[in-house]
Amino acid sequence: MSAMGFVARRAGHGLRQAFGTFLLTAFVVALTLGVFGGFLLLQLNLEILLRGWGDRLQLTAYLSPTVSAADLDALLAKLKSYPEIERVSHTSQEQAWRDFQAALGPQTGLLDGLPRNVLPASIEITLRPEFRDSAAMEQLTERLKKQKDFTQIDYPQQWVERFGLVVAALQWLKWLVGGVLFLALFFIVTRMVKLAVLGRRQEIEVMQLVGATETLILAPLAIEGFVQGLLGAGGALAILFGVYRLLREDPAGLSGLVPALSRIEYLDGPSIALILSIGVILGMSASLFALRGMVRSWKVYRRARCSSRFCWSWLPAGS
């Protein structure tokens, strides 16, 4: 119990004593994580946008005039059982006529004299997200064409191909930009925490000389790293929330240019958890890695003393 109390007191003492450095480090962590979080926010909203576009990718199967109401129910049930189909909706001849009229608007008079059953009934088929590509749509079209209930199957082929390209590009971009940003984040945060920790080298040396074990030396600084990372990650989430609110409220009227801005979503639970975890893990691990080098070898400390004029030269070897 006394060891735990000692560790907690040392951590609290360390935070109070180097409060300025602590805040500065947490601020840098917040900014860097904020950029990474901004990328997550962008990616999340692009995915939502794509999902919306994907819902519009539908196959239209035009029904043969011979299909009765009873046949139609059986047909709809059969289509729903296909693994690649998410939902189906039936458009009757009457509904198709009304939709066409609405689409024509003021020119609706052009339809005068035409019989109301001139347009065929149809079934709109929406595929599950994982089947929204050109190959899957082509395959389903071929299967449906073999059925005598349909006279024609249509789908917007060019649209589907473009959509597939956008989805693939986003997936690559996610890993590429995300990876680069994460590496930058890792290096900035670890360097920043290391610099803060190296300022404590005298304390660590004294602790060693009075017989503190490695755990007793590392634990308070790991706790400080944890708090620093948590605060930095919290700060990043707050910054992102501010940006999100600003875009959502849109005081500059940007949504007129980019309509999707008015529907922007904030980070989801897993993304928030990811940012908090990265902050905490980086804060702790950067402290521990910087310290382990110092605790295990005082050569680092000696080098620091010898070349203190060159502040970067006392970073641990290989850092």
Partner: protein, 229 residues
């Protein structure tokens, strides 16, 4: 209590700090290590509290060979040894009593007990009124007394002091000397590395002179009286 058996310490192939040192220090002795800069005095002390490892040979403290011990055992060893340095090595952001209590807490003493022990030592050393002062507001002599109090707080059987009077004026050096004298009377073994041979000659029971990493003179257990450079 301490044995050096054919100890060699090389920092680089060309720099030999200690060369085939054989030495036995007995319980209750106050041994003065003397010699010029670079003679190997500080290295010898560092080998005892295991800041350095010998390149060859063995260093034994209370029968324990320090060559094969791990980090935890090094920590345990240091809790049993009091260390005093020329540059005091006090933590600037802790008060006098907190610096002393830190060593007690590291050794496992509860906070209150560590505080009581620290305050008692400060009273014994005449620093009670300075208990809350930070090292920067203490004189060199006061800082060294605090450092000695920290070395004593775990009631060690062995005290190692590396140039303990190096940064002190004559009056403070005499105070420090008096403290070591008092400590020795409690049957504590003390090993001091110092240039101030004349000063420590008064109280040392034995003087060991080093030169280029070798022991060139040892007054033995017969005390320092009559021993000359």
């Amino acid at each position: 209590m301490i044995q050096f058996q054919h100890v060699v310490k090389r920092y680089t192939p060309a720099v030999c700090a200690l060369d085939d040192v054989n030495l036995e220090i007995h319980k209750g002795e106050l041994v003065l290590l003397s010699g010029a800069n670079g003679a190997g005095k500080s290295t010898l002390l560092k080998l005892i509290y295991r800041e350095e490892e010998p390149s060859s040979g063995n260093v034994l403290v209370e029968g324990q060979n320090l060559k094969s011990i791990d980090g935890r055992a090094v920590a345990r060893l240091r809790r049993r040894v009091g260390l005093v340095f020329q540059e005091f090595k006090l933590l600037a952001n802790l008060s006098a009593w907190e610096n002393i209590a830190l060593a007690a807490e590291v050794a496992g003493a509860p906070r209150n007990s560590a505080r009581d022990r620290a305050l008692r030592l400060l009273r014994d050393l005449g620093l009670e009124s300075r208990r809350n002062a930070k090292p920067s507001s203490l004189s060199s002599g006061e800082q060294q007394r605090v450092a000695i109090a920290r070395a004593l707080v775990n009631r060690p059987k062995l005290i190692l002091a590396d140039e303990p009077t190096g940064n002190l004026d004559d009056a403070a050096a005499c105070d420090t000397l008096r403290l070591f004298k008092d400590i020795r009377q409690q049957d504590t073994t003390i090993v001091v590395a110092s240039h101030a041979v004349d000063l420590f000659n008064e109280i040392a029971t034995r003087v060991v002179q080093l030169e280029h990493g070798r022991i060139v003179a040892d007054s033995g257990g017969g005390g320092a009286a009559g021993w000359q450079l």
